[in-house]
Symmetry: C2
Subunit: 433 residues, 2 copies
């Protein structure tokens, strides 16, 4: 892998998500040789992926070249690589571009979509964890609209104009809100030959409220906002199967739809090679102690979505969102410095900064520790926070510009079918990436 030899202890970080890049940045000037690995050459700002899917933003606004992070230090290296396995006895990892010895290994591989074993959904549905997947969803939505225009068969047209979103977490809520905005502002203008009333957006949730991780106030407000936007919310509704056209559920309701987007669960994305006891099997995530050390190992750490740090407040580990990942990345940087100095490690404490979700234009819900609010001001806060956390000054500027432009013009500039999704069998691969 051509990493130069060095007297400094080598930290290898697998994954350039929030956890991995925060840790990398904190180690740049420290006495470590830092090696960041990722299968992509960019970091993806996942909270805004849904805007890529719905033509609001282009990938370059939410992706950040990982080499721009490592290049500011001559002790830091990036390699585009897929890690295949770990040999903890030999302190070695094996990748598609060769093997590498580490002194400290940090697993920050995040999470992937969980289908709970449902093959029909995995085969026919769409999901959205990566930029190519988001672009596929964009192409599919636009292709379905194009096809609806030329279809005489009312049943087929109805299916092309019916959008099923499963799972009313932030992703499902934000995506359905954005598709509802397309229906309101883009479809009537761009597709004058379509009747926008024929377009239906259904959000299906197995639990009894939307945004289950948030407060009941937030759920109620988000539900109201979704209804106002024309999203049909179906609670206590579990999907049983999707064959590419028919959606069956645990209720009598059957939907016919050409667009089925699954955002009803995630599971860890661990790497092969560690002892079985390192993994919390149900979650597919590594069990870590308060120092983020993986159970059974001293020099292997896990941070972010892939780590489960159980305590009284979080019996199943921290929520799989950006904040714990960022905070653990920061904290681990300090602990690694302590470790090489022979100092005592400090336990990690999660500071919950609150959660939020946006519902279309002008509306969002925000849960802070002592203050829960929704509506226009919340939407403003949502935008500000997302711009703030977006990586890179340029990305903030471009995203801000696009938001202002789209807002003023009720427009979505990126409604481009760059690579058609449908009928392209080979593209199926991309959904599985």
């Amino acid at each position: 892998m051509n990493i130069p030899k060095s007297d400094l202890p080598r930290v290898v970080i697998i994954g350039g998500g929030f956890a991995g890049i925060t840790l990398t940045r904190k180690l740049l000037k420290e006495d470590f040789q830092t090696v960041l690995l990722d299968r992509n050459n960019f970091h993806t700002f996942q909270p805004l992926l849904y805007q890529v899917s719905t033509s609001g933003l282009e990938p370059d606004s939410i992706a950040y070249p990982l080499r721009k992070i490592t290049r500011s230090s001559d002790r830091a290296f990036f390699r585009m690589a897929e890690v295949e396995s770990i040999d903890p006895e030999k302190n070695t990892i094996y990748t598609n571009i060769g093997e590498m010895v580490y002194d400290y290994l940090v697993i920050a591989t995040g999470s992937k979509t969980n289908f709970f074993g449902n093959k029909s959904i995995e085969e026919h549905g769409m999901w959205m964890k990566t930029v190519p997947q988001a672009l596929n969803i964009r192409s599919l939505i636009l292709e379905n609209l194009e096809q609806a225009v030329i279809t005489d068969d009312p049943v087929k047209r109805k299916a092309l104009l019916t959008f099923i979103l499963v799972g009313a977490g932030p992703t499902g809520v934000e995506l359905s809100g954005a598709i509802a905005e397309l229906k309101r502002n883009i479809v009537p203008q761009d597709y004058p030959d379509l009747n926008p009333d024929e377009m239906e957006i259904h959000l299906l949730e197995g639990l009894d409220r939307v945004l289950p991780p948030m407060s009941e106030e937030a759920s109620a407000k988000a539900h109201k906002f979704l209804k106002e936007l024309g999203v049909q919310v179906h609670l206590n509704t579990m999907v049983e199967s999707y064959d590419g056209e028919n959606v069956t559920t645990n209720t009598d309701r059957v939907f016919k739809s050409s667009t089925f987007i699954w955002s009803a669960g995630v599971t860890g994305a661990p790497v092969k090679g560690l002892n079985a006891s390192a993994l919390v099997e149900a979650a597919n995530r590594y069990e870590v102690n308060v120092f983020n050390q993986v159970n059974g190992y001293e020099n292997i750490f896990a941070i972010g979505d892939i780590a489960v740090m159980q305590n009284e407040e979080y019996p199943r580990g921290h929520p799989m969102v950006a904040q714990p990942a960022i905070q653990q990345g920061k904290h681990l940087a300090q602990n690694l410095k302590r470790l090489v100095k022979g100092e005592k490690l400090e336990p990690f404490h999660y500071k919950d900064k609150g959660t939020m979700a946006t519902v279309g234009r002008n509306r969002a819900v925000v849960d802070l520790d002592k203050w829960k609010f929704g509506g226009f001001f919340a939407w403003f806060v949502w935008m500000f926070i997302h711009l703030w956390y977006l990586i890179g000054f340029r990305n903030r500027l471009v995203t801000f510009f696009n938001w202002v432009y789209n807002y003023i013009n009720y427009d979505k500039a990126a409604r481009l079918i760059i690579r058609p999704f449908k009928g392209a069998k080979e593209k199926m691969e991309d959904r599985r990436v």
Copy 2:
């Protein structure tokens, strides 16, 4: 195809390039039912494609949704369709989404890459006529750099760092200039483990000067600029074959390269169904009279790259660039109005507004009728003209912003390998689109 019936005469326009969208725009408010067809749902601003290839711009900056053009009129329609053939007897076209009768047919299908029958180039080379192809080139360049970093074999590394561009027309010159800028400004920072001197950019041209369609002054200046940037120009050099690694030429020189970009020729992209006499066989373009009527037909027109209007000044037709296409589109709109009113048609006269090409940062060459100049001012003019002709206010703003940002920061923001090109056999299809 679900186009409503109308008493207005129907103009069907095949192709949303410069010619097609100019004509469509001019007909929006006129007494025609206008139907614009394209295989993509967007117009591509081809003169800036090379910046998409070299990470300077994202597709949304140079692509424009075609429905944004037709939506401002209730007499204009867009359909995403691939035209398969024409039946001039029945005034009917056949497409992948059905058939349609026309009163007037306008063929504006443009041109495609010409390999002059060389299968090895078609099989192993890259070219750049569409956005997906440009994105493939971007991915390939970045993937080669990533691979060069991890390669111990000096011969293999050399091939990964050798970029062969064939054809020193504007595309070849602009692309090689942009790759040279990558070598200067991005590679040393992003790839500190690579020796930038190992990176070589070779521009091969069969004729005895670069930019053969431009003046000798422009050629000489551009050649000088390319040399200053470190591009190695090889004149009187014709490529014989490329097997994915070795480039053989008519000279003794053999190159080893993983990146071979072919921009040495275009040929027309006609549609099946018209009489053989309609086509100028050598060029694969339709022969048209001074009214852009295709030879042998009264209600079938061809405009832009696909049309050859021969006269004394242009014995082989107008140059296959944007200006003749735009001017013919405008002119044909007027003639169609005359035609339905029973008035006499007016002959087309091409007004040569000049040609230009840019060579990296700060340098360009411009040929106007009476004034030929090069350097910084020419580069400024080049930028201004390209912004001016770019379709859509937003695209101008975004492109301008990106140029300013990239210029100040010596940066290219979009160096993202969104969809890897290499090893993905299925992606090969995209190169042929």
